[in-house]
């Protein structure tokens, strides 16, 4: 017998996020489960809605974008019905977030010690010497070179990699159970990216923290994730384990994404492409939003396809795999 699946840390159901109360939707009915200690990747191109998904969960959507429908169960509580004060108590505490460009999320006129101290005071009630000691411990935890010195630095005195380490230290200060990381290494050079990814993976394992990793980079997905959700035009189009996704991609969009990336192991040669471009928000074609770019599109794509199982723990929102196979006639 299998052990019962652990209670999910987060259960997202039917999330619609849109522009204003009546404007176009950005996310359409997104469902997502996140288990404790799991690394879930959300991959998609610009305009797929992956960042808006993260910001919806964190309650950080930019005006006038707002959650219009759905529930996000965090234990017994629905995040979307919490009062702002309750939401603030969670954010930076049990749920933390790091961004692509740490410079724009750090306060440029506050020393690292003050920014870390703020989180420690707010979420852990630490002040003075204990706060400073804990700040030092956190900077050591994120493998900051020369922590005592960096504690008194301003953000502009740090390199991009060191700034991202400060962001991670601030996220860890609240002892989060979920870390939402939105393109955390996209602005960094590859050698620094490798250091930060390794750090995130190690901290995630040591603390048993769940990570929701938003990225456009399938290499980062391959390196980091247990499970992956692929987004296209505001919907999850495929969802499964990282291995399923790389070995048995089922949605034509996932297949196209995997085929169109230049690979180190492939050398020179023509790249497979997906023709056309991602549709803009509010200008989605009727039916399956990918159909106009899809080589396998047919008359049955006029309805938006629901996510359907295509293997154990593997779902795809496409009718093509469910079509009856054409009878094998004799080939001439």
């Amino acid at each position: 017998m299998n052990a019962p699946a652990p209670e999910p840390l987060l259960r997202l159901r039917g999330l619609d996020t849109g522009i204003g109360p009546r404007g176009p939707l950005i996310l359409y009915g997104v469902d997502l489960d996140l288990a404790p200690g799991e690394v879930l990747g959300v991959v998609g191109e610009s305009g797929s809605g992956k960042s808006m998904l993260a910001l919806s969960l964190m309650g950080l959507l930019p005006q006038p974008v707002a959650v219009r429908a759905g529930q996000a169960w965090w234990g017994e509580r629905d995040l979307f019905t919490l009062r702002p004060a309750q939401r603030r108590a969670l954010r930076g505490g049990e749920m933390a977030m790091i961004f692509q460009e740490p410079m724009s999320s750090l306060n440029p006129v506050m020393r690292v010690s003050q920014q870390l101290g703020e989180v420690l005071r707010w979420h852990r009630g630490l002040q003075g010497a204990p706060a400073r000691a804990e700040s030092l411990r956190l900077l050591e935890r994120v493998e900051m070179p020369d922590p005592p010195r960096q504690l008194d630095s301003y953000p502009h005195e740090l390199s991009g990699g060191m700034r991202q380490r400060v962001m991670i230290a601030m996220a860890l200060a609240g002892r989060p159970r979920l870390l939402v990381a939105d393109e955390p290494t996209t602005a960094l050079d590859v050698t620094i990216q490798a250091q930060i990814l390794e750090l995130l993976r190690r901290i995630q394992r040591d603390e048993g923290m769940a990570v929701l990793l938003i990225t456009h980079d399938l290499g980062v997905i391959a390196q980091m994730c247990d499970r992956v959700a692929v987004m296209y035009a505001g919907r999850i189009v495929e969802h499964g384990s990282a291995l399923d996704l790389f070995d048995r991609p089922t949605h034509p969009y996932t297949q196209g994404l995997l085929a169109s990336r230049p690979r180190l192991s492939a050398g020179a040669g023509w790249l497979t492409t997906i023709e056309g471009t991602v549709p803009a928000v509010g200008q989605l074609p009727p039916g399956c939003a990918f159909a106009p770019r899809c080589a396998q599109a047919g008359d049955d794509c006029a309805q938006v396809p629901a996510l359907a199982p295509c293997g154990p723990g593997h779902w795809a929102a496409c009718v093509a795999p469910q079509r009856p196979r054409p009878a094998q006639g004799p080939h001439r």
């Binding site: 390199s159 060191m162 050079d189 490798a194 390196q223 994404l257 990336r261 230049p262 192991s265 790249l271």
Partner: protein, 338 residues
């Protein structure tokens, strides 16, 4: 006899003077490019890779003389163009063009597409209005944009289409040499593949020579015949693309390849090959600039800048330990080609 390379740089340097602080002694200049030797043969693509701040974009601009070198020589078909005057250089420049990373920032938003693509023709007084209009239509066709694009403005296009406009503009004067500076870096994967394929087709049709500058090693591997790796203003390794990726020799190139995430979850990297970052290396101007981060460094590495020397045919490496044979090739670098 082998013709001279289309473009060749010898001992190219670009030092930027840092602003002087009040009452402080003058700071030493920033050596953005510090003695680069490179050549690009007609019809080939040289990939130029390195991390931010390594001087790869500055090198691209120096090769076009968009900025003036502090020292060094620049040869175009064997002719020294380092000291050509403005009007002569202007003629040369018709043959040398550049495509930028940001198709949003490099196209004037108030100009229509026909004005944008036709502008180089106007500047260089090519043909009359009707001939220029015909050429613009031809260029749009060349980059696979519809003819009705002419009367639209850049904001009406997607990122990939805007980059096609940038390419058409660069090709207007029929250049032989094009510097592509992070030309596909801002594009999504599926669109990036379209633009890379287009650049390869154009190269074949128009016999173009490319300097392809990028931080993305997988893209560079796909498009380049040869690859040069830069670190803090110097070229540390040059080799045919297949050789460089299968058997990198310089410790920095190895670290760079080791740092890349794999193509598949089964290829996860277990450890990080190099610690520290560029900022920690700037003090070592005397010797090898990578030495302070290099796991194989010895005291002698700090004595003098290592020269770029051939290890094997067209494979050159700037590392004294590779040169004297004390640092053998690492075996784990033959990537599987399944």
């Amino acid at each position: 006899m082998k013709p001279p390379p289309l473009i060749e740089a010898r001992g190219l340097r670009k030092h930027f003077q840092r602003p002087r602080r009040f009452l402080a002694p003058a700071a030493p200049p920033l050596r953005a490019v510090d003695g680069v030797d490179l050549h690009i043969d007609a019809g080939e693509t040289l990939g130029l890779v390195g991390e931010s701040g390594c001087g790869k974009s500055t090198t691209g601009r120096l090769l076009l003389r968009l900025i003036e070198p502090t020292a060094g020589t620049l040869l175009h078909h064997g002719q020294d163009i380092t000291r050509l005057g403005t009007s002569q250089m202007r003629q040369k420049r018709r043959a040398m063009q550049i495509i930028f990373q940001d198709p949003y920032g490099s196209l004037n938003p108030r100009m229509r597409v026909d004005e944008l693509i036709g502008e180089p023709l106007v500047v260089h007084r090519v043909g009359d209005a009707a001939q220029r209009a015909a050429r613009v239509r031809q260029l749009l066709d060349l980059v696979r944009l519809p003819a009705n694009a002419v009367e639209r403005y850049p904001h009406e296009f997607s990122g990939g289409q805007r980059q096609r406009i940038g390419i058409a503009r660069a090709l207007a004067l029929e250049p032989e040499f094009v510097v592509a500076d992070e030309a596909v870096s801002a594009l999504d994967v599926s669109v990036q593949a379209q633009v890379i394929n287009l650049m390869r087709e154009l190269q074949r049709e128009l016999k173009l020579t490319y300097l392809f500058i990028s931080h993305n090693l997988a893209v560079v591997r796909n498009i380049s015949d040869r690859v040069a790796v830069m670190y803090l203003g110097r070229v540390v390794e040059v080799a045919p693309a297949d050789v460089l990726f299968a058997a990198p020799r310089h410790p920095y190139t190895r670290a760079l390849l080791d740092a890349l995430p794999g193509d598949h979850p089964s290829q996860r990297r277990a450890h990080v090959a190099v610690r520290g970052d560029l900022a920690q290396s700037s003090g070592s101007d005397a010797g090898c600039r990578f030495a302070v981060r290099c796991p194989h460094a010895q005291p002698r590495c700090l004595a003098a800048p290592p020269p770029l020397s051939a290890v094997d045919g067209r494979h050159q490496v700037a590392c004294i330990r590779v040169a004297d044979g004390s640092l053998p090739p690492s075996p784990h670098h033959a990537p599987d080609t399944t």
